[in-house]
């Protein structure tokens, strides 16, 4: 088998751009997803069922359907609904953020509910408000427990962003597919893509290990 490094070299500039796109879309999505997820996570812990219900439904729908389908619905349905036509970049951010929010919400909820109720009771018994108890007592302990789960979610998100090639968002997989189309070769484009993803997720997991030790 001959392995043509020259075509990889030829495609390297666009693959690097694709890598930056993947990193960018993942970063923004994990950020927006976490913020939205925090709201949804708290919503799901609301004391009354009719407040809880919409958040509960959101999480179930986004976890219960494939990201593949969600990307298509956002790209061909949701975005045109608002803007008249569709934009791959916007669809990419929106679909990944909405999806990531559902998983983040569960991480927040599980983290907060894993803290012994006695902690909250002790805080309240000292005269603290619910908000103070959350801020000074529950969240600092819960966040520590959430870090590994968030790291995991982040890594999954980076890999899942490859599905965005579907809507021609110019990320790593999109450019590998183009490369395959141009040269009609299999190993070079896909092995290169796999290697780039691996380098991304491996550095990410090293970084997360470091953060875990820090907090």
């Amino acid at each position: 088998m001959d392995f043509r490094f020259d075509i990889i070299v030829h495609y390297l500039p666009v693959l690097l751009k694709g890598t930056l796109f993947t990193i960018g879309v993942s970063l923004v999505s994990i950020l927006c997803g976490s913020i939205l997820g925090l709201v949804i996570g708290f919503g799901k812990m609301a004391p009354r069922w009719y407040f809880r219900w919409p958040f509960h439904a959101y999480i179930n729908i986004f976890r219960g359907t494939p990201l593949y389908v969600q990307i298509l619905i956002v790209h061909f349905g949701l975005i045109p609904l608002f803007y008249g036509k569709t934009y791959a970049l916007m669809s990419a951010f929106v679909a990944l953020s909405l999806n990531s929010a559902a998983y983040s919400a569960e991480i927040f909820r599980a983290g907060i509910q894993s803290i012994d109720p006695g902690q909250r009771e002790a805080a309240l018994s000292l005269g603290m408000t619910k908000l103070q108890a959350m801020r000074f007592i529950i969240l600092p302990q819960a966040i520590k427990r959430m870090v590994p789960a968030f790291g995991n979610e982040f890594i999954v998100l980076v890999k899942d962003s490859s599905l965005l090639a579907l809507i021609a968002a110019p990320e790593i997989m999109y450019w590998s597919n183009t490369m395959k189309g141009q040269y009609l070769r299999i190993w070079e484009p896909y092995l290169t893509a796999a290697l780039i993803y691996f380098i991304l997720t491996y550095s990410l997991s090293k970084l997360l290990n470091y953060i875990e030790r820090k907090v």
Binding site: G118, Q119, E121, A122, L124, L126, G127, Q132, P140
Partner: protein
Amino acid sequence: MEPIISVKHLHKSFGAHKVLTDISVDIHSREVVVVIGPSGSGKSTFLRCLNLLEQPQEGDIIIEGTSLMAKSTRINDIRTEVGMVFQQFNLFPHKKVIENIMLAPMQVRKWPADKARQKALELLQKVGLSEKAEMYPASLSGGQAQRVAIARALAMEPKIMLFDEPTSALDPEMVGEVLAVMKDLASEGMTMVVVTHEMGFAREVGDRVLFMEQGIVVEQGVPEQLFGNPSHERTREFLSKVL
């Protein structure tokens, strides 16, 4: 004299399960009231109603003239006057001992840090743990942790202290050090409501003992009378098992 705590016809259920039935008790300032009774009789629930960690369905609790059930009452204000000590200590594990004690005075009473620190150090000295100030709770023994928890509650300068089986989670050799701190507190005139299985403490320190069973205060009286000559058969039965 007006009682500092007045409980009137209190009812509490969890769903269909009735836990407290028509409890009426007056507690006076400087009084030490000990609550005894079998497991599941509602002692903890009663205590937790006194600072609204549990919300009763019926009746009223009046603390220093303020009804806890009134809509206008700010429960956080009441809780600053009512300290609570838990069976499981519930220290904040992510904060040092001294930070555990300083947090509420600073956040709730808005004390400056140096005033809160001063108070915390005084209290640590009082419970005999000055040298543990900069440690984390995980490094304390059970008895030490409970003494820190008492100091933490006292830092808010409460008028009333509630204790829910403060020595039940301790190894036997550590029970004494915690009871000693509680005795000190009682002799300084703190109003205390103590749920405990330590009958020696009840006899020695209690001004009054309540015997609860199945959500009812069956009998109450001064320790000599309740322990020496209980008037109810159920009290007698319970005491024969624990004494």
